[in-house]
């Protein structure tokens, strides 16, 4: 009976419809009143789900978090230009520069953000608010290694050999560290050769090369490594979970990595994005995010640093922050990434 009802014509029509559906934009159908935003996976995603989503919900919009690393967000937007998979992105200056150059994000209208005036002036950019500044340095296990002081020491001092984890140029945090390592060995923001040379020499001394920062954290918790390049937030997260982990600032200065929210060009729900941005920069939310386990440094001037955050970052450390020149770094990043693979490949 079924084969009589389902004629060849109706089957072919069904097949055609299925194939044509994505071309007609059916895939963009979303629940009314929702906004899809990309967020860093792991502790950021958890923190935003717990602290930001309820505030956006109270404003009448459901916040859907799409976990993706900064570079992955850029790749996904490039892959779906004109039909973005998410309405807002969460990235660092490296990706912001790329997103602007490739026309993937829009300037924001500050008048739509009632908490805008509460932000630190440096956090008010025409392309969107900075929700924090990630401060990067050394995460280390005080039970296994002495406190590291310089990048150079990780290569020169045998006590660290076989105990340091490294990641390639897909990670912003790692990219900043490699720039500092290049400087320590005579290179610069656009001369990475000394860093590759010391890495190649170091491979025989048991350097552990992981594929991502998250993978490094898993290895750290299993005592496979005792030192890795990290943000303060990741160290705070590990400490909150009872893992022995401390943060050390490099004596040459700690590279800083602002994290910004951007309105994606062609976003399905721009008003929802403004609600989301406003929630993320509000004092109430940033006060919650500054608490363990997320311990995200606030950019809202009404939110004081917690005692715990003060234990990681002193005023002297803040004065010693390094803001790298991404305009110099970005053009080289692809080539460095390819070269990194060539150097580490067994």
């Amino acid at each position: 009976m079924l084969n009589r009802k389902l004629s060849r014509r109706s089957v072919m029509a069904g097949l055609g419809g299925l194939v044509a559906a994505p071309m007609l934009g059916v895939s963009r159908a979303r629940a009314a009143g929702s906004v899809v935003v990309a967020a860093f996976p792991g502790s950021w995603e958890d923190a935003y789900r717990a602290a930001v989503a309820p505030v956006v919900k109270a404003a009448g919009t459901e916040l859907v978090l799409a976990p993706a690393l900064a570079q992955d967000q850029l790749a996904k937007l490039l892959a779906s230009q004109g039909k973005p998979a998410f309405d807002a992105m969460m990235v660092s200056p490296g990706q912001t520069t790329e997103a602007i150059a490739r026309g993937l994000i829009e300037k924001v209208d500050p008048s739509k953000l009632k908490n805008w005036s509460k932000l630190l002036p440096a956090a008010q950019t025409e392309w969107g608010p900075n929700v924090t500044v990630e401060i990067t340095g050394f995460a280390y296990n005080p039970n296994l290694v002495p406190k590291p002081k310089t990048y150079r020491e990780l290569f020169d001092n045998p006590v660290y050999h076989g105990k340091v984890g490294w990641v390639g140029f897909g990670s912003n945090t790692a990219t900043l560290a490699w720039v500092e390592i290049a400087k320590a060995f005579g290179g610069s923001e656009d001369n990475m050769a000394p860093a590759f040379k010391i890495l190649a020499e170091h491979l025989n001394k048991g350097a552990v090369i992981a594929n991502s920062g998250n993978q490094q954290m898993a290895l750290y918790q299993q005592n496979e490594i005792a030192v890795f390049i990290s943000s303060v937030g990741n160290v705070a997260n590990l400490k909150a979970r009872g893992v022995p982990c401390e943060f050390a600032h490099p004596t040459t200065g700690s590279p800083a990595l602002p994290v910004a929210l951007h309105l994606v060009k062609g976003a399905a729900n721009p008003e929802g994005v403004y609600q989301y941005m406003d929630a993320a920069i509000s004092a109430d939310v940033q006060r919650k995010l500054a608490q363990p386990p997320s311990e995200i440094l606030p950019t809202n001037t009404d939110v004081p640093l917690t005692d715990s955050l003060k234990s990681f970052i002193s005023d002297a450390d803040i004065k010693n922050l390094i803001y790298p020149n991404w305009a110099k770094i970005n053009p080289n990043r692809a080539a460095w990434s390819a070269e990194f693979d060539r150097v580490v490949k067994k």
Partner: protein
């Protein structure tokens, strides 16, 4: 298939066309394009001129063959146990084979970090028995990747073989014994030829899965062992070289496809197929 059966496979057919065939055609077209808007073989030429890419391709295929060999060695005793077991024991063996598949590959891969880690049971035992001077990490080498993938892919080899052997008449072994064949001769001339179609089907599945297993390859192998899935990810997610990534993906598809087709043809060989 009779014409009346077509509507029943239509949903799967539609899904395959929309979810696999159409994207595959798009991917193929993409692999022949270049960022400047041109069309040609440049991405393939670049790929085959790059020693790193060729090494990655070779390593990926070698990994597939090593995992196939390893799962076969580990699986053979289980296959023999299944052959000799009664109905109840056979059900238990099938259940135990399926059991690991109820846990996600990602979870199983991360569990292996603990097992093969510096403080894991393997390293600790080896150190205590004096085989190594001190506990050390057994991760981040190809042997570890092969071991972990063998454990993960083993059910893909065992299940087709068990399906074939379940339908096989065991009196053939009795007949061979009656004719004077010893245990090894029975294994070589009766059991293995009977199981051959299942083994070949299992090899195809294990090879395809092992060569494309991004999570296990990257987590257990680390960044120093690069296989094609990681290479494609780097081209897409870090370098944004999609035409190049599409070309690499097609080379992976073509090479694994050719090898799998060869295995499938072998399985359909009259001498092997007749035993099934």
């Amino acid at each position: 298939m009779t014409r009346g059966g077509i509507p029943f496979v239509a949903p799967m057919l539609a899904l395959s066309i929309a979810g696999f065939l159409v994207p595959l055609v798009v991917l193929a077209a993409f692999s022949f394009s270049d960022p400047a808007g041109g069309f040609g073989m440049a991405n393939y030429v670049k790929l085959f001129a790059d020693p790193l890419a060729l090494q990655v391709l070779f390593d990926t295929l070698a990994l597939g063959f090593k995992v196939v060999a390893s799962t076969t060695l580990i699986g053979l005793p289980i296959i023999l146990l299944f052959w000799h077991a009664g109905p109840r024991e056979r059900s238990l063996i099938v259940f135990l084979t399926l059991l690991p598949m109820l846990v996600s590959n990602v979870v199983r891969t991360f569990a292996w970090i603990v097992i093969l880690g510096r403080q894991g049971p393997v390293s600790q035992t080896l150190a205590q028995l004096g085989f190594i001077p001190a506990p050390r990490s057994l991760l981040f080498n190809e042997t570890a990747v092969v071991v972990v993938l063998s454990q993960i892919e083993l059910p893909l080899l065992l299940l087709p073989v068990m399906a074939v052997l379940s339908r096989t008449d065991r009196s053939l072994v009795s007949a061979a014994e009656t004719l004077g064949a010893g245990p090894w001769r029975i294994l070589a001339t009766v059991i293995l030829p009977l199981a051959a179609p299942g083994i070949l089907a299992g090899w195809v599945l294990v090879f395809a899965s092992a060569t494309t297993s991004y999570v296990t390859q990257s987590v257990i192998g680390g960044a120093r062992h690069i296989y094609l899935p990681q290479y494609i990810y780097r081209e897409v997610g870090v370098l944004f070289q999609w035409p190049s990534a599409a070309a690499i993906a097609f080379v992976l598809l073509a090479t694994t496809g050719i090898i799998m087709a060869a295995m499938a043809m072998l399985a359909r060989h009259p001498r092997l197929a007749s035993h099934g």
